[in-house]
């Protein structure tokens, strides 16, 4: 199964994208694993809204692809058309007011990849889901 959502990368839309994707996942997965997926997706989308586009961009878009292999894996791709970047490796100190999103994504997902393809940034996240964590669907 594959779902694609595309929108402006404004803060209001960002939350609505996360809520929409989670509504699909809630039909398929049990409660325990949903938190990890929601927090990772929220971090990836928030990074697009805050960091991807400098003021020089007229259009600020975000696209989220949700790929589901039933009883196996959830793959979430978050795509933007902004500037190229690199993923930070470390967690900032306790007094820092930002910079924790990528660390959280790495922690809750099984795999996190960044790719630059055709002037687009791809954040690709994988989460393996054990058979008992799926609802009967």
């Amino acid at each position: 199964m594959e779902f694609v959502l595309e929108s402006n990368a404004e803060t209001k839309q960002i939350r609505l994208i996360v809520v929409a994707i989670m509504a699909i996942l809630k039909r398929l997965l049990k409660e325990d694993i949903l938190y990890d997926l929601e927090v990772a997706l929220s971090e990836a989308c928030t990074n697009v809204a805050i960091h991807a586009y400098s003021d020089s961009y007229e259009e600020k878009k975000i696209k989220v692809k949700l790929k589901i292999e039933l009883k196996k894996v959830i793959i979430i791709e978050v795509i933007d058309w902004g500037d190229e970047f690199s993923l930070p490796e470390n967690l900032p100190d306790e007094y820092s007011e930002s910079g924790r999103g990528v660390y959280i994504m790495r922690k809750v997902m099984d795999r996190l990849e960044y790719e630059r393809i055709n002037n687009q940034n791809y954040i690709i996240m994988h989460k393996s889901v054990e058979e008992e964590e799926w609802k009967n669907c």
Binding site: S96, S98, I104
Partner: protein, 115 residues
């Protein structure tokens, strides 16, 4: 969606945030809390018992509040953080960074407030 409830006594400004703490709600909450930071109360207690989702934007918001209050010689106290708040704080090992209490009625004993 977020909701802000405010209560004051001589020393404590109690704010209850209901809903989510992520980019959309934090942007709306920031200006509302500026007045609280500038108030003459020494303690800002934030009730997080009804937060249903928080990500790193929410953590950044709490850290920023804590930094601002500390610079003014004031204190931030988290009241009854919800399971979701605790989960996110523990993800990045920042859970013990914040002062926390379970019962707002005991805040005056714990912080030895003389009113």
């Amino acid at each position: 969606m977020e909701k802000l409830l405010v209560e004051k006594n001589n020393e404590v400004y109690l704010v209850k945030i209901v809903g989510e703490l992520e980019i959309d709600s934090v942007e709306k909450l920031k200006p509302k809390l500026e007045a609280v930071i500038e108030s003459d109360r020494n303690i800002l207690a934030i009730d997080l018992s009804e937060i249903t989702f928080m990500d790193s934007t929410g953590i950044g918001f709490l850290v920023a509040l804590n930094n601002k209050l500390k610079r003014k010689g004031k204190k931030l106290v988290l009241v009854k953080p919800s399971v979701q708040v605790i989960k996110t704080l523990k993800l990045i090992n920042i859970y013990h960074f914040f002062d926390q209490i379970e019962d707002i009625d005991k805040i005056e004993d714990i912080y030895k407030i003389v009113s």
